[in-house]
Homo-oligomer: 120 residues x 2
DNA sequence: TAGATACTGAACCACATGGTTCAGTATACG
DNA sequence: CGTATACTGAACCATGTGGTTCAGTATCTA
């Protein structure tokens, strides 16, 4: 069963479709951070950053924990395995497809030659 | 310069965030198809499917050509190289980050042992 | 030339996104 | 206790998404 949980892919690809969120992931790869840290780094209000973190969290890419007044964000337990898997699978398909088209082109060229010969 | 064109990543990750569009890509990996073909396959109106194809086309993942009344869709020239690249880079970061955290945990365990020894 | 086919564009709908402000609440510090 | 800090939630805004219908236009085919 190579059935990916499509809802999961939906959420994580959507999460990755924003430069700020990709930046947050890279940032958290270097060090855990509070909402305030991230908001400053990306020149955004706390509320705005909290929404981005929410999206990442819902996609399972980030986990957060509140201790005292501070909510600390860190990378989640998934390292985009399924996403990388889907893309790899697609790239194989893509390669195969273009190989196939190459063959078709070859075939056409071969036929053209024959046609040319017939005409002359 | 490892500066990815963020707008491009934005568009293609967004394009991948919908199951129908991922399905269309897989389908086009098997054979070129008209808008009608795709609309039928995914149980959708022509207009609806055309929008999806538009999103894929704007992301550079699909190219289309109209001959007579039929618009034929085929895979674009990009095989998600940049997207795969970003994800790979992230996965490396993720691995490094978790290795680092492991070390911290080790360190804490070591200290705990010492504390225990001091208490007893 | 008439009718079927294939697409296209505008308009609409409900809902999500990316951002803001403003008014809270909860916690830390002096 | 009082004040500053850190977050939270509601409400708003403009824009985009995923889908529809309806009314075209353009192209085939008989």
């Amino acid at each position: 069963m190579v059935q990916y949980t499509t809802a999961c892919l939906d959420a994580s690809f959507a999460a990755l479709s924003d430069a700020t969120r990709r930046g947050v992931l890279e940032q958290l790869g270097r060090a855990d951070a509070s909402i305030t840290d991230l908001a400053e780094k990306f020149h955004m209000t706390l509320t705005g950053m909290k929404k981005h973190v929410g999206v990442l969290e819902r996609a399972g890419l980030v986990i957060t924990e509140k201790v005292g007044r501070v909510r600390t964000c860190k990378l989640g337990l998934r390292a985009l395995e399924e996403e990388a898997g889907w893309i790899d699978r697609y790239r194989q398909l893509w390669d195969a497809r273009f190989d196939e088209l190459d063959k078709v082109v070859e075939e056409l060229k071969r036929k053209e030659k024959v046609d040319g010969r017939n005409k002359s």
